[in-house]
Symmetry: C2
Amino acid sequence: MKSAPGLTLLDAADEAGVDIKSDCGGKQTCGKCKIKVEEGIENLSSPTSKERDELGDTLEQGYRLACASKVSGNVLVTVPDESRRGKQVILTEGLEVGIEINPSVKKYRMELDAPSLANDIPDFERIAKFLNNEYGVEVNEVMPSTLRSLPRTLRDKMGRYEKTFTATTLDGKLIKLEKGHREEYYGIAIDIGTTTDVAYLTDMRTGEVVAITSMMNPQVKYGEDVMRRVTMSFSEEDGLEKLRTAIVDGLNSLIDDAVEEAGISKDDVMEITIVGNTGMHNLFTGIHAEFVSKSPYVQAIGHSINLTPQQAGLDIYEDGNVHVLPTIAGWMGADTIGCLITTTPYEQEETQLMIDVGTNGELVLGNKDKMIGASCAAGPALEGAHVSYGMRAAPGAIQYVRIDPSTYKPKLDIIGDEPARGLCGSGIIDVVAEMVRTGILQQNGRFNKDLETDRIRKSKSSQGNEYVLVWADESGIDKDIVVTLKDVREVQLAKGAIRAGAGILMEEFGVESIDEIALAGAFGNYIDPTSALIIGLFPEIERDRVKMVGNAAGIGARLALVDEKKRKEADWLVDKVKYLRLAALEDFDMEFAKAQWFPHMKKEELYPNYDKILALREEEGEF
Amino acid sequence: MKSAPGLTLLDAADEAGVDIKSDCGGKQTCGKCKIKVEEGIENLSSPTSKERDELGDTLEQGYRLACASKVSGNVLVTVPDESRRGKQVILTEGLEVGIEINPSVKKYRMELDAPSLANDIPDFERIAKFLNNEYGVEVNEVMPSTLRSLPRTLRDKMGRYEKTFTATTLDGKLIKLEKGHREEYYGIAIDIGTTTDVAYLTDMRTGEVVAITSMMNPQVKYGEDVMRRVTMSFSEEDGLEKLRTAIVDGLNSLIDDAVEEAGISKDDVMEITIVGNTGMHNLFTGIHAEFVSKSPYVQAIGHSINLTPQQAGLDIYEDGNVHVLPTIAGWMGADTIGCLITTTPYEQEETQLMIDVGTNGELVLGNKDKMIGASCAAGPALEGAHVSYGMRAAPGAIQYVRIDPSTYKPKLDIIGDEPARGLCGSGIIDVVAEMVRTGILQQNGRFNKDLETDRIRKSKSSQGNEYVLVWADESGIDKDIVVTLKDVREVQLAKGAIRAGAGILMEEFGVESIDEIALAGAFGNYIDPTSALIIGLFPEIERDRVKMVGNAAGIGARLALVDEKKRKEADWLVDKVKYLRLAALEDFDMEFAKAQWFPHMKKEELYPNYDKILALREEEGEF
């Protein structure tokens, strides 16, 4: 983090938009603003005596109080979860997906005959024969550490063969043998997000998630966006190893926490499935990522990868497996694959447009005949970043907005029982949609100057006008919360990129309308679909044909964990989805410009029923 | 080693029959008798000042001079190769086996098209597609570290795709990618013997052995025979780990030496194949070996095992493979499999009796229709141990003997240009055969007391008579070298066990004679077949139907390294060879007793042409 010399880390963080807790207001007494210095500790002022008291031994590990540390140069810090203001709201359930339980890792009850001089086939072959005879399973390999203890596991302390055992297999390999009949076993589906990592500890017998843990991606300290990290991985010495270690350590702590929360043994975690964009995929698996980030953006591998826990660096059952889902292209990764095996356009006649909303938006238009995908740099506006009062979906965030079309007075839905502190992603979309619906904004995104209300005024902080959503005396930050012309522009760029991508995919696919939209993304479930329709985030469609599928990437990882058919579908998708490089298309810029209007410059042609959409809001009534 | 207190280690070693170098005669001046103390250093006298001068820093690592260290209790020592008297003679070539070069690990030259925006399939898939199109090879996996560097290996420093590459594959996996066309690669076939380990560094393009290294099995310090080590592996704490570490470290030094001798890079060693008896197999792979050593002697696994170099602990190319050949039974291991894929009885109409001579003799009788195997505890007499003047095949060892039938004076063939110091295995067989032929020994193994010669006399050291082979003034040890009645008994026990096993296999197989004998074993090539026929080591057969196949186990490991068909044959043999447990058979003891006679108690019935065999020696003339 760079900042003006002399500021404290707390001030510098505030300037940079990073939320750090501080109950005492920077007086070095509450100890809540504890942060960890990763690099550049020499550019901080010496620890104060209050810091020494507060931090004790942790001072030596690099911890400091942000309010006490004055900055004189570049410093790299990590903000521990407990020092972050507010806890992130995690979407635990998106779409209800019918899960079929048929995992790659399977357990089998066995009743083995004891060997004798007349029946002396070896231990492993005895197991393989039983599994083949009783279950029709072909097992022809055994993992080394399972093999090493095989003879002892099969016998009691007196050396007598026991009768009942449980075998665990994966892809023709025996990976575990247990005495007695023991059905219990677990897997973990992991979604490595650029910003947030989530682990779903799953009971493999039922598919039920028994613990969810999440954390900020520890790589964030090296750069917020994927490209910065990928560039670091090949341009800095040990860059890749630093990034890999950061994510691997992070995932291990997610695993530890999940296992502890569920009260199970780590040795019962037999498999991990992993989704993430291609950058996250490469930085986790340790693949040299320079060339996937440069034209022609070729991945090192498309298909799925299996690693031993040791190769992956993850601490679960040692003969278990880490399955990394495949990637379609440099800018269309295992996260999109995860979404697709969740929304399954390839199983239906009707066309589906799957949109994974994020800083990079991924779109796939398809049905059982074909699928075409594209990705677009939507920017972070739809996630609540890069807008004046954007914030994460934490307490104090405005998540829904309704504006009275005659008074222009808003009604707000705020997370938690607190005064408003800013807008999260769904709030941004809502307020802009309401500004469009009530005429505060024109179709081209400019403010309507003819309205008589003190809520519309010339902006103090940026060019153009602004709309006052919350007056300072009602807000939790002692300032007016406003939406500026610049904020509206950010939303236009984001929604324009997605809408242009959708339009080009439709043209390429050869359809003039689509039958279904599946809206994915960590916050996909929170977007108000009517608002999305009003701003023209996607092509015109019936309101009830828009499905919110939540964190479909994570759901995909869970599906691949418990249903081996889903893994095959995932690998099949690599070759099946045709990836379209939007930036390479001649007419993209023109499409992009037109798509930035609300809902579109070609409104009459593309949104013939736009009035009905606007009317939906009135039908819906209050929230 | 246990010894009378007060003796030096050098004396104690001499008593125990361990040869340690000492040029100065125990005066602590030559420094040649350096040994390493593994356990029980507290039972040795304190280092003398001469030792301190001689040993310097190595004293702290446990090295001592054997001549200076007085023993007061149990001590476990290792004698380094350079401190052993004489170097072992290694059999480098046995049977000339026609080697087919079609290894599991293969190299392919590739000419890849550079990717472009229009041709953007991923790096790995590009390689897999090329290999499939050009060579019909299915490659669907890639080893992790190869994958990690794939993008960089494919491109030059400017990020441009190069054109020519070399891919190395194994069982559908890409395990290496190199720039340019590079045909060179190597494998190592390893024979883990109970006593001696041999490594054959092999050029995989030609099958040619480019370096051979060997050493005493470092586990010997824990016990000379297999059973003692196996028992230690499960009865002592960390026993298995100690034994495993000993052999793994030993093999790594064999690999180091071989690679250095050939002047190649360890990164070019792509695969290792391993043979050894079931005990050695288990102690190397780290399998719990308690139950394979107890009735019903069931192995942990019969079929072959593949390990990563890391799992095996062997230091070769990291994405390479360690292939451990299969075992047939607890007492019939991967060494016997190695012999069989060398002598290939299953490819012929004629019956073959394969005998692998060693402390444990393994026999397989078979042809293309069926194969039956058995093992017998022959004891070490045929290897030159447990006989009064037995020694290894080192300089000074008598390897062949002819006795004049009228004077009873012997002619000797001695290894190296030295006076005789003892008898190696082939010498023992020769001298006993000659004693039988010349009538010194009767058919039942007793001395003929009616012969008039001072070479036959009452033994001074044991019961019964003895034959003086070398008088003290002609010997290199200032003592008469004699063959005692007890020595003859040892040979009778050894040859009786093998001959009884062969008889029982023939009965079980349903034949009265066999068409061919393949004699294997580290010293198999050195046995004089006529002598073997004279003592009745195996059933009567034409002299020219006895093939000496040398270290067939090691040859088998080499075949499995360069010809993948041989690996399939090896795994097929596991189920194909019927293993007969001799000790469990009612008539074994009786057969064993009869077979101890020269050539057999049922000589008239089983050796109708015995006179012709005796006459062979005269036809052969002098050696």
